[in-house]
């Protein structure tokens, strides 16, 4: 009888697991709060911070302390005309180093005694810039100061040549004219590269607790043994649980992508010449492109959880294993791989490629999409099969 209604049993288990998880605050928090809410929030907040820092720092006055400013009044006047706030300081070398380290003066320009004589002799005239390259802000301000000083030097160099009757453009035998064909959407992918990472993680996190609960948790609560006395083949029990976990992953995935689309509206990426407008169509396509991976992810989580002896152990293991699907993305980022038919057969990697393509606003190759869906579902089926085999083991009861 049970054999004939095997699908029914799977559905029964699925329904029960979903219902129970919907009542479990921990599962709900991880599925509906951590991934879908905090992930996009953190993404949006960090992007917004980055955008503002870049734009604002360029607008702020550059604070520069100068030792021996009297040795180069023209240089100082030139800098002051260019949004540099110069503070004249009298510090020796050791005190200057300390002041830079303590951030009392994050950036100190020192004018050596021979600056004037070397400049007058048309020899490279030295300037010393004290900065702390390990401090991000100071480092960026240092780069600004260096660029300004270089600009002043370049102006003198140009006039030196002019005064000698040489065309300054002789120094530029070749000019590269950049023709950048990137679009606001494609540029934003460099910043939004972490979006697919985030989406995958949030998706897995959504089904993680259900996977643990349905296996290690059930064993720990001793509800597994009565379950095994029911006339349902064991693999059908686990299929139902995997599907329930996958369902929660899909739920989390949907919420996460929608939340990302909403959160990114509040990021002024436009100031960067980017646009991250995830319209409804792109959101739907990202969800559809990623969905096939849910089965494989749920299968993987369930298989690993089935090996563990306790809820706590499962948590520890899955915390590590949930990163596995994101590894290909990291690798691709490092190796700068481009999508190919072969790579589209790698689950999680193919989803990353599909999401990136969608973010770029480009069309997805149907073949690529097909390979991605097929390979992901095949992996999911394989993992489900393995999980089913594992459930036949007697050591399951622990």
């Amino acid at each position: 009888m049970a054999g004939r209604r095997g699908i029914g049993a799977i559905a029964t288990v699925w329904r029960k697991e979903v219902r129970e998880s919907l009542r479990d605050r921990r599962t709900l928090i991880s599925a509906l709060l951590f991934g879908p809410l905090f992930g996009p929030l953190i993404l949006a907040a960090s992007l917004q911070f980055l955008v503002h820092r870049t734009v604002e720092e360029a607008d702020q006055r550059l604070v520069l302390a100068v030792r021996y400013a009297e040795r180069a009044p023209n240089l100082i006047a030139w800098l002051e005309a260019r949004n540099v706030a110069v503070t004249r300081v009298a510090l020796d070398d050791a005190a200057t180093r300390r002041a830079v380290q303590d951030r009392a003066y994050p950036l100190v320009l020192s004018i050596p005694a021979d600056f004037g004589t070397r400049l007058a002799a048309a020899r490279p005239a030295p300037l010393q810039l004290y900065s702390d390259a390990s401090a991000g802000r100071t480092d960026r301000d240092g780069a600004r100061a260096r660029a300004l000083i270089a600009q002043y030097g370049a102006g003198i160099g140009r006039l030196r040549l002019l005064a000698r009757g040489v065309d300054p453009l002789l120094q530029m035998p070749i000019v590269v004219q950049e023709i950048d064909v990137s679009t606001p959407q494609s540029r934003s992918v460099t910043v939004l590269g972490m979006l697919s990472y985030l989406v995958l993680l949030a998706m897995i996190l959504g089904g993680l607790y259900l996977a643990i609960d349905a296996t290690a948790g059930e064993r720990e609560r001793h509800s597994l043994e009565p379950l095994l006395t029911t006339p349902v083949p064991r693999e059908q029990l686990i299929y139902g649980k995997i599907l329930a976990s996958a369902t929660f992953m899909l739920l989390s995935l949907t919420l996460t992508v929608i939340a990302c689309a909403i959160a990114l509206r509040f990021v002024d990426l436009e100031n960067f010449g980017m646009t991250a407008r995830l319209d409804a169509g792109v959101v739907a396509k990202i969800i559809l492109a990623t969905a096939p991976l849910a089965l494989a992810a749920a299968g993987l989580m369930t298989v690993v959880a089935s090996f563990t002896r306790s809820y706590r152990e499962a948590q520890t293991w899955l915390g590590i294993v949930m990163l596995v699907p994101t590894l290909p993305i990291v690798f691709v980022g490092l190796a700068d791989l481009q999508p190919s038919l072969g790579l589209m057969a790698v689950p999680s990697l193919s989803q990353h490629f599909l999401i990136t393509t969608l973010l770029r606003g480009e069309a997805i190759s149907p073949l690529y999409a097909l390979v991605s869906v097929a390979s992901s579902l095949a992996l999911g089926a394989a993992l489900a099969f393995v999980a089913g085999r594992l459930y036949r083991r007697e050591s399951l009861l622990g």
Partner: protein, 243 residues
Amino acid sequence: MIAAEGLVKSFDGVKAVRGIALRAEDGAITGLLGPNGAGKSTTLRMLCTVLAPDAGEAWIDGTHTARDPLEARRRIGVLTHDSGLYPHLTARENILYFAELHGMARAARERRADELIDWLEMGAFAGRRAKGYSQGQRIKTALARALVHSPRNVLLDEPTNGLDVMAVRNLRVLLRRLRDAGHCVLFSSHVMQEVSALCDVVVVLARGSVVARGTPEELRISTGCDSLEDAFVKLIGTDEGLG
């Protein structure tokens, strides 16, 4: 009716059950008595197909447990050592879940659940989630769950563990009613009083083997002991682990 012959089971090379044979008849309460580690739970688990025996065979109403485990399971209701309820489901939902797994139709499930809740006097808590149940409530729920498909055979693994006196009395009443209704009731215990008070037949286990079987009276007489307690101590060779 439950029958077993020559059941053997080892865990990591340690023999837990060394060739047990037993029979539990319909309309009778059969008790598996033995100290901790005697092999009671392992035997029950083999009978309810959760474990496969290394050797030996078992039948439920004549159905071979290894050859047709699903059919065997359909014929048994099991109350495991721990009640194992789903804390986020109500008692009624716990019961209905198992009914569904047994393939019962929706209307039959509902009717049977009502029946059991009524019969086990669970009305006061059946709609509440199982999370805060007392031990008695848990056992009742688990029992209802085990009986939801009206199995002919009922297996109970140390069902009185952790129950207070009143709850134990209630359980005894329930088990007798099951027997009187013609069910085959097989339960394990290390509590002698319970067995002597309830069982029609006692199977005494020690170190994985059956050391005696018979009515409590037969056991006392055959060992030549004045009290049943002395008879058991004599049978298992030690009073260790016997409560």
